[in-house]
C-alpha cells in the first residue's frame, strides 16, 4: 500500500467528503434563506439572492435557545468533571495497583457501558419524580453517570496503563508513598489522557437525548438536542429555524474537532486497538 495516490484516489476522496459534508452544507444554505424561499421550487436552489440572518435571530427570540445552551453546558460540564474525577481515581487503582478482582471490576464496567438506557429509565424517572428532581440539573447529572462513568473509567484505565511502570517504581525507590507517586508522578503524566477522556465524556453528555427528553420536560430546563428536536412551528415544521439552530450547535463542534482531532481519535480507538 505504498503506491502514490493517483487521480482516482482523489476523485473517490472528493466523493466521500461530499457525501459526508453535503447535509451540513445544505443546512447552512437553508439557514440563510428568507422565509419566502423555503418552499416550492426555491427550496431546491443552491444559492439565494437575498441572504438573511433573520433565522439566527429568530432562534434566540422565538425559542429559549440561550437557556437550552446554558442547560446543556451546565449539565455536560458538571457530569464531565465529576465523572472524570471519580473515574481517574478508580482507573489508577485498576491500572497500577495489584489487588484481586480487577478483571471482574473491568468486566462490570464494560457490561454497564453496554446497558440500554431504556432498561434503567423507569426506576430513574420514578425516583426523580418522587424526589422532585425532574426539571433540574441534578435530575440529568445523576442518570448521565450511567454512561459517563464507565466511559471515563474505561478510557482512563487505558491511559494509565500506557505510563511506564518504571517511573512510579523509581519514585517509590526514592521513598515516595503510593499517594505521593500518584500525585507527583502519575497524575501530571496522565493530564493528556484525562483531557482526552474529558472531551469524549463531554460530547457524550452534550449529545444525550433519552434522559433529557423524559426527565427535563419544562421549556426552560430542556437541553439543546431535545430543544431543537421539539421546535414547533404554528403551521409546519420550522425548517429554517431548525437549520439555523443546527448550524449554531455544529460550529463549536467543528472547532472542537479541528482542535482536538488527534486526541479524539486516540481516545476513540484506545479501547479497540491494542498497540
Amino acid at each position: 500500500m505504498r503506491n502514490k495516490p493517483g487521480f482516482f484516489f482523489y476523485l473517490f476522496l472528493a466523493g466521500f467528503l461530499i457525501a459526508v459534508l453535503f447535509p451540513f452544507f445544505w443546512l447552512a444554505i437553508t439557514s440563510i434563506k428568507p422565509a419566502g424561499e423555503l418552499f416550492g421550487a426555491d427550496a431546491f436552489r443552491i444559492l439565494t439572492d437575498n441572504p438573511t440572518l433573520d433565522n439566527y435571530v429568530k432562534v434566540f427570540t422565538d425559542y429559549p435557545f440561550a437557556s437550552y445552551m446554558w442547560n446543556s453546558t451546565v449539565v455536560a460540564v458538571v457530569t464531565t468533571v465529576y465523572c472524570v474525577f471519580v473515574a481517574s481515581i478508580a482507573a489508577y487503582a485498576i491500572a497500577r495497583l495489584r489487588f484481586w478482582g480487577k478483571s471482574i471490576v473491568l468486566g462490570i464496567v464494560l457490561a454497564v457501558s453496554m446497558f440500554p438506557q431504556i432498561a434503567t429509565l423507569s426506576p430513574i424517572f420514578m425516583f426523580m419524580q418522587s424526589t422532585e428532581l425532574t426539571n433540574s440539573y441534578l435530575g440529568l447529572i445523576i442518570p448521565y453517570t450511567t454512561f459517563a462513568l464507565p466511559l471515563a473509567l474505561w478510557n482512563m484505565t487505558n491511559f494509565f496503563r500506557k505510563i511506564p511502570f518504571e517511573l512510579e517504581e523509581a519514585a517509590k525507590m526514592d521513598g515516595a508513598t503510593t499517594w505521593q507517586a500518584l500525585w507527583k508522578v502519575i497524575f501530571p503524566l496522565a493530564v493528556p489522557g484525562t483531557f482526552t477522556t474529558a472531551i469524549l465524556v463531554f460530547i457524550a453528555a452534550w449529545n444525550e437525548f433519552f434522559f433529557a427528553l423524559t426527565i427535563n420536560t419544562e421549556e426552560g430546563m430542556k437541553t439543546v438536542p431535545v430543544g431543537i428536536a421539539l421546535f414547533q412551528g404554528r403551521f409546519s415544521i420550522p425548517w429554517a429555524d431548525i437549520s439555523a439552530a443546527s448550524v449554531i450547535v455544529t460550529i463549536p463542534l467543528v472547532v472542537m474537532v479541528l482542535l482536538f482531532q488527534r486526541r479524539i481519535v486516540s481516545g476513540l480507538t484506545s479501547g479497540a486497538v491494542k498497540e
Binding site: 517504581e169 438536542p225 474537532v257 479497540a272
Partner: protein, 464 residues
Amino acid sequence: MSLRPLRLSQLIRKIRRGTKPKSTEKSGENMKKGKGLSERSLGYLLILPAMLLILVIAIYPVGRSFYLSLYDVRLNDPTKLEPHASYGINVERYANVMPFLVSSLDHEIEKAEGKHKERLKNIKQDVLKARSTLESDEELADTYQQVNQILNEGKKVPQNMKSVHLDEEKVHNATQLITGVKKNLESMEKAEQLDESRQVVGLAKGLLSAFIEPNFVGLQYYANYFQDHRMWASLSNTMIFTVISVSLELVLGMAIALLINRQFFGRGLVRASVLIPWALPTAVAALMWKFLFDGQNGVMAKLFTEVGLIPDMGTLLTTKFWSMFAVIFADVWKTTPFMALLILAGLQTIPKNLYEAAEVDGASKVQQFFKITLPMLRTTVLVALLFRLLDAFRVFDLIYVLTGGGPANATETISVYAYKTMFSQMNFGEGSALAVIVFICIAIISMIFVKLLGRDLISDGSGK
C-alpha cells in the same frame, strides 16, 4: 448481567502473573509496610466510589426495572403509582379526604329535604361505617393521627408514613361501602338533588383512590408480549435495522479505511470532517435528515426522485420499505466515519514488514488482505462490531426524531415501543417489561461477543 469474560482458570493464571514479584517492587512493598495502607487495601479504597456509583445508579435500576415489570404500575392512576404487594391505604390521601367528605355530607344533609335527606343520612352512615372499619386497625389510627398533625402544620408527609398495610377484608368492606356511596351520590348528582354535587362526588372518588390493592401481576406482561404482534414487529424492525446498518457500516468503513491508509495531501482535513458526523448529536442529525428527506422540500428526496429511485418525493417517509431505508441511510451516514476511524487505527498497528515479506513470497494484494489484514484486524473489528451492534440495537434518538416509529409503526424499534408504552400510556410496569426484554437481547449479543473475543476484551495489562 452475568458477564463472564474470563474463565476461572484464566483468571487464576492472570492473578498469578500479576503478582509475580519483580525485585524492585518487592523492596517497594517492604518499604510501604510501615506507612499504613497496603497496596491492596488502597486499591479497593480507590475503586470504591466509582463502584458504588455504578452499583447504585446503573445496576440497581436494572434490577428495579425487572421488579417493576412484575407489577401493574401506572403513573396516571393514583392507586397504582407504585408496586404494591399487599392491601393497604394511602394515609395522606385518606387524611386529606375523609374529614371533608363527612363535613360535606353534613352540609348536604342540612340543605336537603324529605326523602333526599333520609337518603343522604344513610349515605353518611355508610361512610362512618367504613371509617370505623378502617380505623379499627391500630396502626392506621395511629398513623392517621400523626399524618393529620403534619398536614395541619403544612409540612410534607414523610415517605414511611404515606401508606399503611391493612387486612384484605377491611379494605374490601370499606371499598364496597364507599363504592356504594359514590354510586348513590352520582345518581343524586344526575337528578340534581345535591347542593355542591361536584365537591361531594369528587371527595367520594378521592377516598376510593386512597385504597391500595395489590397490583402484582407476576410474569403476565412477558406472557402477553410473547403473543403481542406489535412486540414481534418492533423486535424484527430492530433486528433489520441493526443487521443492515451495521453490515453496511462495516463494509463501507473497511473500504474507506483501506483507501485512506496511506500518505496523501489533506489527511488531517479528511480526518476532521469524518469526525463531525460522529460528534453531532444524533437527535440533530436525525432532524437534519428529516429535512433532507422531506416530501415537499427535501433535497435528498428530490434527488432520489430525479434519479428514479423512488416514484415521488413523498414515498420516502410515508411507505414501509422506504422509511426503513431512510432511517438506515441516516444511521450509515452518521456512523460509517466512526467505523472507518477505528479500522484505520487498527490497520496502522499492523507491522509493515509483514506485507513486505508477503510481497517477497509473491502473495497478491487480495491474498495479503485475507491472510494478513483481516486476521490482524480481528480484535479491532470485533470490538467495533460489538459496540456498534449494541448501539444500533438500542436505537432511540434517530428513529424517535426522524420517523417517530411511523409510518404505521414500520420503523418502530423496541426501545421506541417501550418509550411509548411508558410515556404515552403511562404504563410503567408494562413498559418496564419491554425494557427488560431489550436488556436481555443486549445481554445475549454481548455474551456471544465476549465468547468470541475472550480475553482480548478485558485484558488487565499484564497479559500483553
